[in-house]
Symmetry: C2
Subunit: 332 residues, 2 copies
Amino acid sequence: MTEPSLDVVAIGNAIVDVIARADDELLAMHSLVKGSMQLVDTATAELLYDNMGPGLEMSGGSAANTLAGMAALGRSCAFIGQVRDDVLGKAFSHDIRALGIRFDTPARTEEPPTARCLIMVTPDAQRTMNTYLGASQHLPPAAIDADLIRSARILYLEGYLWDPEEPRSAMRGAMATAREAGREVAFTLSDAFVIERYRDDFRALIEDGLIDILFANEVEIMSLAQINDFEEAVALFAPKVSTLVVTRSEKGAIAIKNGERFECGAAPVREVVDTTGAGDLFAAGFLSGHVTGKGPVDCLAMGAIAAAEVISHYGARPETDLKALMGGFLHA
Amino acid sequence: MTEPSLDVVAIGNAIVDVIARADDELLAMHSLVKGSMQLVDTATAELLYDNMGPGLEMSGGSAANTLAGMAALGRSCAFIGQVRDDVLGKAFSHDIRALGIRFDTPARTEEPPTARCLIMVTPDAQRTMNTYLGASQHLPPAAIDADLIRSARILYLEGYLWDPEEPRSAMRGAMATAREAGREVAFTLSDAFVIERYRDDFRALIEDGLIDILFANEVEIMSLAQINDFEEAVALFAPKVSTLVVTRSEKGAIAIKNGERFECGAAPVREVVDTTGAGDLFAAGFLSGHVTGKGPVDCLAMGAIAAAEVISHYGARPETDLKALMGGFLHA
């Protein structure tokens, strides 16, 4: 088995975020569940957009955000995801490559357009996401370069991309390839509603030993377990993966690795502005520690620091120098 | 003469900004003059974009930014500018309407695409702008609704839009209409390089008494005068307009109204992040005071407060509640 040449390859939605401040009435008017992600069709996307305030457009996508954080921390990354050859697709491609992330998936030349996510940020800093999947749902299994998968220490997958059929199949293939090559597979559960739709699939992946590192938040791990007690839910899945990482917002996060439990508090934030990307950047910090041989406590701390940065401003990708924020952790 | 129903109607470039951090080497590599605006063709725009970091896309345009500030301060506004019916054009239109600004100019259905401005922000917070004018330069004189012009207390024009021929002609027509209706005309010189190209035109507008309120910064007023002494340059033009407003960055601003001179200092800023929009928002604060009957000192203070807000974050439109920042000025 050859040494991996990349730290991580991720498969995820290739999305441009449209971020706008919103009040609770707007969410209520459209029956939106605060903090969740819903998939919307063109008509709903247009209706919501018409009712949103002025937008800020930035490249997003859960796994792509995680890579943005890892690249900022000096890790070598590649991304696989589907855009169309339109203005937003060009912006997404430009932005991810400008971060030094390898991105070779050819753009589609036909409808639908590049995915966008209308993100409403309420004054309590919670984000409510309305995703129009567009081209992103057409990532074909053929887009998975097996050599690329084999070349990376970690394959990182987002649960959000389990919804559309082609990418799901593509991710299954990639997991098999990574497994055969002796690579680690990391998976984020993404969202409670996604779990509602694919609980059996996700549980089967875990039971079949296909996931090494599982990322979830409190709500997600309880939803996956269908148990209303956090500790019981954790106890159910911790033995089934090498590492289980559960984020708990302001209560910090825990990691359970080979039966041993580690905890860390949340990193301090002057003002929580927009929680979009908190989980994505936590994963970025954690995995950056992991691939450089840090122990779980350091990995958790790095996750907490990266998450704290991203929630202190609008947008789901880091704005300040993550390496500088990590201080001693990068050199320890 | 009927009472105006709107506070301001502005004619300006309809542009989406692409904002990215950049270092001085990038500017040097492309021979860009820091703090200036240059017009670029498609090929140059693509080359610069390829070399830029990840972008943040936001609606911009100088006069449109001024309206965003005035609308935030409770003023009634209308905008005239040209987009194409593409993704960026839709974003621009959505954003300006979401601010409560009337915007009825029909989108063009043919090439070129909606204008964009690649804005490089260096660590010293200076912005260097590279504008691809696209659809914006095709604003036809027919897009000027004379009734709309007559309905607004102030017609506000940006010097940037003097470059392309059709909008220049459209602005000349609008000025004549406003004049006949007894409305005030406000004009911003925009940029020293624009003045280089159109000094004679701008001087003629002033000599002909077509401009009531003239906005400039130090460099611009000296360039217009072709005099290297600030006070001499001010003395040359102050008698030719009702009100001359000159911004001086951290030195504050001056206004000379009917021969009397007023000054104010710069409003405090915790950290200057991005100076894009500083002049636009100064004009927004000043004009918001002016149309509500404030004296020049209050108008200057309101301009300084609005400018301070916009330079404290990335992007050229206000992010925080301008009304709240104005405090007593709005109710005095």
